[in-house]
């Protein structure tokens, strides 16, 4: 095994640990963060990029805008609770929402594999259309490319989106303060298990549906009611655990959460026990955390619970001074520090 060389600015190839890209580089864990920190950020140096938010926030022509992009490469294309089309709309809508923006216009790039049944493509297009209608956004520009058979996985989609920010709040990790509470918008882990179950042919007594949903209406309800939101993050690949760790590291504050307060559906918990997964690191596509002052928590919870996609909102923990770490109070009353995973969770042997 070759010695590990730390990256220096002179290094022509900043990722020396792996000579090729592995799946773990896209898993939302440490290897992906390394890739972003060592290769992407230095290459494109920009203060907007450095903010490392779910989207870039800037002023343009007198308006404050949020701008984001995301690519969707899911297998299978259709799964319980959603499909690649609804993911592509909701993912970008949610990234804009986490900036506190009202999502307005989306672009859509379709990369299609030769041989894809036209019927499948039509179903994806219909899903894109319906999801955009539900979220209240417009698809206004797009692109289509076809690659040789075997060079794609049916359909890849990229969407980018623009939203407008109609308030003066700074919604970012930098606004988080000691004393804030952490709200979670619903049960976690369903998307990860729904995909895994389909992909691997696992069968459970009940069908586990993805939580894929747009969060813009819930976020705008908070903002329009005047709730002083400090930070919003949607929970995607790395799950609740990774998201909280990112915020703790960015703020240098400590976040303590109660394991018993985090809703995990019984069937998801059961699947996790069988596979050796931790629900804290499972992917979600319609869940977020909101960090805000304790005095506003009751009002915010009430507003979130009235919105259909955040009706299971609960308070799971609070922010205190010091540490830059996330502590979990376990159900048996002990405490441990949460760490980021390297890549995706791997099913265990026994």
């Amino acid at each position: 095994m070759s010695e590990i060389k730390d990256f220096t600015l002179n290094c022509p190839l900043p990722i020396s640990d792996y000579p090729t890209v592995t799946l773990a580089h896209g898993g939302g864990g440490k290897l992906m963060h390394q890739l972003i920190e060592r290769m992407i950020l230095p290459a494109f140096q920009s203060p907007l990029l450095e903010a490392r938010h779910d989207g870039a926030v800037f002023n343009l022509g007198g308006a404050r805008l949020a701008f984001t992009t995301d690519s969707y490469v899911v297998h299978p294309l259709f799964f319980p609770g959603g499909d690649i089309g609804s993911l592509a709309i909701n993912g970008t809508v949610n990234d804009l929402s986490m900036c506190g923006a009202r999502p307005m216009y989306l672009s859509c790039g379709l990369i299609l594999e030769e041989g894809l049944p036209m019927e499948t493509l039509w179903a994806v297009v219909q899903s894109l259309k319906q999801s955009a209608e539900i979220a209240g956004v417009q698809l206004v520009t797009g692109d289509t490319k076809v690659v040789d058979r075997g060079k794609g996985d049916g359909v890849f989609i990229n969407t980018a989106g623009v939203g407008v920010i109609e308030h003066g709040l700074v919604i970012a990790p930098s606004a988080v303060r000691a004393g804030d509470v952490v709200l979670l918008s619903g049960d976690i882990g369903r998307h990860g298990i729904a995909i895994m179950a389909m992909r691997e042919g696992l069968e459970f007594e009940s069908k586990i549906e993805s939580d894929c949903a747009p969060l813009n209406h819930a976020v705008l309800a908070l903002i329009e009611a005047g709730v002083n939101v400090h930070c919003l993050r949607d929970l995607t690949r790395g799950g609740l655990g990774t998201t909280l760790i990112e915020i703790a590291e960015a703020t240098g504050l400590q976040i303590t959460i109660e394991e018993t307060a985090i809703p995990v559906r019984d069937d998801v918990a059961g699947a996790c026990e069988v596979l050796g997964f931790d629900p804290l690191y499972l992917a979600n596509e319609g869940r977020m955390i909101a960090i805000l002052p304790e005095a506003e928590a009751a009002k915010a919870l009430d507003l979130l619970r009235r919105s259909p996609n955040t009706s299971g909102a609960v308070a799971i923990g609070r922010v205190t001074d010091g540490g830059g770490v996330v502590r979990l109070k376990s159900q048996i009353g002990t405490t441990r520090v949460l760490d980021m995973l390297s890549g995706e969770q791997l099913p265990r042997i026994c």
């Binding site: 799946l23 048996i332 760490d339 791997l346």
Partner: protein
């Protein structure tokens, strides 16, 4: 969740903790055999609930961790062949070989697949008659029945494009190797509940008697482990050394006879090399001669290959309970879950990975790493 939340009850955990405090009068060193137990101990912080006199050392019971380097290299060599579909349990993919791991082979275009049961290989073999389907048959007594069944059925059904790369190890010989070592500190064992669910616990009775150590068959939930510790400490305090069964809801004394039958039909006891420890006599399983056509080492002619471990890695000392992961000079430095030097840093159930994941921040704050 039913059948799991009952075993994670905070009040019951406190009661057991108080009981252990009450009965403990002297220092005792216990070893939990199984990596699943190590994981639960660290994940739930169970050692916080124990008196200072009780030291838990982490045993060699993680199949990913004890699979020798050369077998990983053999897996990599086989998986890289264009005609091979190489199938494995998920957590073997990231175990480092001498040069590359199985994920690396996958990234270079190898057909490497994660399966949940080796029986799926038979279907893949039938669907891909021009391919060679190989399963990485790793594990203790727990996974042996499924591997045996896959080979048995392949023979019955005449599926000739299927083989297994065997690295099976057995718990009792490893316990004897630890107890027989002059450096041994282990005074009592928590035996692995799921291994006993297959094999029963009759074979532990002579070990407990010979080495005068209590052995408690223990489950994997927090309350199981605390109760197992309480039972073990009680024996030690009373000067007893018997085999007791904490995990009665899953383990009958004789184990699962049907599973044992297929294991004996397909496998025989052989000497095995353990990563970090070395060769232990009669400590593993290999295919019987009648089933040798399903042996991937023979089919792909890799049986002569050997490889040496990284000199920095002290995984052998860790798996014998002689060192704790953070006492290794490479822990968290040259060796991390992203770039592991030794297998205990790879697996979810490896002691080093468990310490890295759950303890690193605390160890760092106390200056221990």
């Amino acid at each position: 969740m039913k059948y799991s939340s009952e075993y994670r009850d905070a009040k019951a955990a406190q009661t057991l903790s108080q009981e252990i405090h009450r009965i403990t009068t002297r220092p005792w060193t216990l070893m939990e055999i199984c990596g699943g137990q190590t994981h639960a101990i660290v994940k739930f912080g169970l050692d916080e609930l124990l008196p200072k006199q009780i030291e838990l050392v982490h045993g060699p019971g993680c199949p990913v961790c004890v699979t020798p380097l050369e077998l990983i290299d053999k897996a990599v060599q086989i998986a890289a062949r264009p005609e091979v579909i190489f199938c494995s349990f998920g957590d073997m993919l990231r175990v480092p070989g001498s040069e590359v791991d199985l994920f690396g082979i996958k990234a270079k275009g190898g057909d490497v697949r994660i399966l949940y049961t080796p029986l799926d290989c038979l279907k893949i073999a039938k669907e891909n008659p021009t391919k060679q389907v190989v399963f990485f048959a790793v594990g203790f007594e727990t996974t042996a029945p499924a591997h045996a069944m896959a080979v048995y059925q392949a023979k019955q059904q005449g599926i000739h494009n299927f083989s297994i790369l065997v690295s099976h190890v057995l718990v009792p010989p490893a316990m004897e190797a630890i107890l027989g070592s002059s450096a041994n500190r282990v005074q009592g064992f928590l035996a692995a509940g799921h291994v006993c669910a297959i094999m029963g616990y009759e074979e532990y009775i002579p070990i407990a008697a010979k080495y005068k150590v209590p052995i408690v068959v223990t489950g994997f939930e927090p309350l199981d482990i605390l109760q197992g510790i309480a039972m073990c400490v009680k024996q030690l305090e009373e000067g007893r050394y018997q085999v007791e069964n904490q995990y009665t809801r899953a383990v009958p004394e004789g184990g699962n006879r049907a599973a044992q039958h297929y294991v004996k039909e397909v496998f025989q006891v052989v000497n095995r090399k353990w990563r970090g420890i070395g060769e232990i006599g009669h400590s593993g399983l290999g295919l019987r001669p009648e089933y040798s056509e399903f042996d991937a080492e023979l089919r792909f002619e890799v049986s002569g290959y050997t490889a040496e471990e990284s000199p920095l890695c002290i995984s052998g000392l860790i798996m014998q309970g002689l060192k704790k992961p953070h006492e290794c000079s490479a822990f968290g430095k040259q060796c991390t879950p992203e770039k592991p030097l030794g297998a205990p840093m790879v697996s979810n159930e490896g002691a080093c990975a468990a310490y890295y994941r759950y303890r690193r921040a605390e160890l760092a704050s106390t200056g221990k790493v």
